[in-house]
């Protein structure tokens, strides 16, 4: 059985180490916060907050306190607030140890596409281009294939890029792959997934 969304999030949480400042994207990456356990992790919200807490209890929502997905959230006793220029200063400046993001496509050279599909609705890149250019480690969490069964792990991205050569690690429902010289290296197979199955579902070059 390939990993489900929660198992992918749990596996992504293993990438996080004690003391890290981390930015989590929208979707499955948001679920990673549920699996950090006892690790001392500080979550950044790029609209200007370090130390993001859980959603508020009903009736305690504060319109002045939202995350980058515009959802109401809460603060913690370690929280700090700052403006957008400082927020992206710490992102661009390499102070954020890791970003865990979703993707539409990832290529074997680490190219990432996750912000637009030409001809369809164009929403914007938000902070994604800054994050992938600036943070210490970029981890992509996504389904290995699209709904049509085509590989999202490609030799080259077909969609407009969010960043060139920026991805370090890919976690999918089928396993974990690292971007290395010459292609992708299998780090781990999801429970019950064989290497042949992973290779068959992957368009990108797998080395080693």
């Amino acid at each position: 059985m390939p990993w489900d969304r929660n198992q992918m999030a749990a596996r992504a949480a293993e990438e996080l180490e004690d003391g890290m400042y981390v930015n989590l994207g929208i979707g499955i990456p948001t679920l990673v916060a549920n699996y950090v356990g006892d690790k001392d992790i500080t979550l950044q919200s790029e609209n200007g907050m370090l130390g993001m807490g859980p959603f508020p209890f009903e009736g305690e929502e504060d319109p002045d306190l939202i995350n980058a997905g515009k959802q109401t959230i809460t603060e913690l006793n370690r929280t700090s607030y700052f403006d957008s220029a400082m927020s992206f200063g710490m992102i661009r400046g390499g102070k954020i140890a890791a970003a865990i993001l979703g993707a539409m496509e990832v290529a074997e050279n680490g190219d990432l596409a996750n912000w637009m599909i030409p001809g369809k609705l164009v929403k914007g890149m938000g902070g994604a281009m800054d994050l992938v250019a600036g943070v210490g480690k970029v981890v992509v969490v996504m389904d290995h294939q699209n709904k049509a069964g085509e590989s999202k792990v490609l030799k080259a991205c077909t969609l407009p890029l969010t960043g060139a050569g920026v991805v370090d690690r890919i976690i999918t429902n089928l396993g974990v792959l690292d971007v290395v010289e010459g292609g992708l290296k299998i780090v781990q197979l999801a429970d019950g997934v064989t290497e042949d199955e992973l290779r068959a579902a992957t368009e990108a070059t797998i080395v080693g």
């Binding site: 929502e61 607030y81 190219d111």
Partner: protein, 234 residues
């Protein structure tokens, strides 16, 4: 030095002209200058270029200026919450210049700090880099981005004294300080104007030097994505 005005209309009087560039604070609907946006709608100023991270929603925030067709061009990082924006953009009525969010914030900060351009690795190898100068340091490419020098800044803070020393609240700070800095003139709206001396000088987020006109008013502070957890989960 009299910075306090009685209304948005009074505070904006003499500052608006067709074709101007306005920088606005706010992230989503959080910390947006609601009253000043309404004031610009009422003034009917046209062909605006607005630098703002987002474009509001259809009936609130900058969406109101889009509904009245007063905006010619948006400089934003994310506009996904506004259907009217999409309609105008796809039909060619509205220009859109996408800026990565951090690039937009830094362009405002730089403009306010007298820096006409800076190099960043954000966007290298993407469509954002097209037509921009590239410079290489230590083997890493960087692209040239320009500071934003706005004709007018409209921002929202929580409290300010009558000299414009301002304090923001939680994540409503967001783009407001850099937006305030990059305007030739900055008009700020606050929830409360407090007497001089009542704010701790060590706790000022934005010094009054950046604020030229100030109004106080009631804010709707609409929530875009109300998310909660159940009490029994605690």
């Amino acid at each position: 030095m009299q910075k306090v005005y009685g209304s948005a209309a009074e505070a904006l009087d003499g500052l608006l002209f067709d074709g101007m560039l306005i920088a606005s604070g706010g992230f989503g609907l959080c910390g947006i200058p609601e009253l000043l946006i309404d004031g610009i709608v009422a003034a009917g100023t046209k062909d605006l270029t607005v630098a703002s991270n987002n474009a509001g929603v259809d009936d609130f925030g900058l969406g109101k200026l889009l509904a009245t067709r007063q905006v010619k061009k948006m400089m934003s990082s994310y506009v996904g919450e506004n259907a009217e924006f999409m309609r105008q953009y796809l039909s060619g009525e509205l220009e859109l210049e996408f800026n990565p969010q951090g690039t937009l914030a830094e362009r405002m900060r730089a403009g306010g700090a007298g820096i006409p351009g800076f190099y960043t690795k954000t966007g290298v190898g993407t469509v954002i880099a097209e037509g921009k100068e590239v410079k290489t340091w230590n083997g890493q490419d960087y692209i040239l981005e320009e500071g934003i020098f706005a004709d007018l800044s409209i921002v929202k803070a929580w409290k300010a004294d009558d000299t414009g020393n301002a304090i923001f609240r939680k994540t409503a700070r967001n783009f407001n300080p850099p937006a305030a800095m990059c305007g030739k003139v900055c008009v700020m709206e606050v929830e409360e104007i407090v007497p001089r001396g009542s704010l701790d000088p060590d706790h000022i987020h934005l010094p009054g030097i950046y604020v030229h006109r100030l109004i106080q008013g009631e804010h709707e502070k609409r929530i875009e994505q109300r998310t909660v957890r159940k009490r029994e989960e605690a």
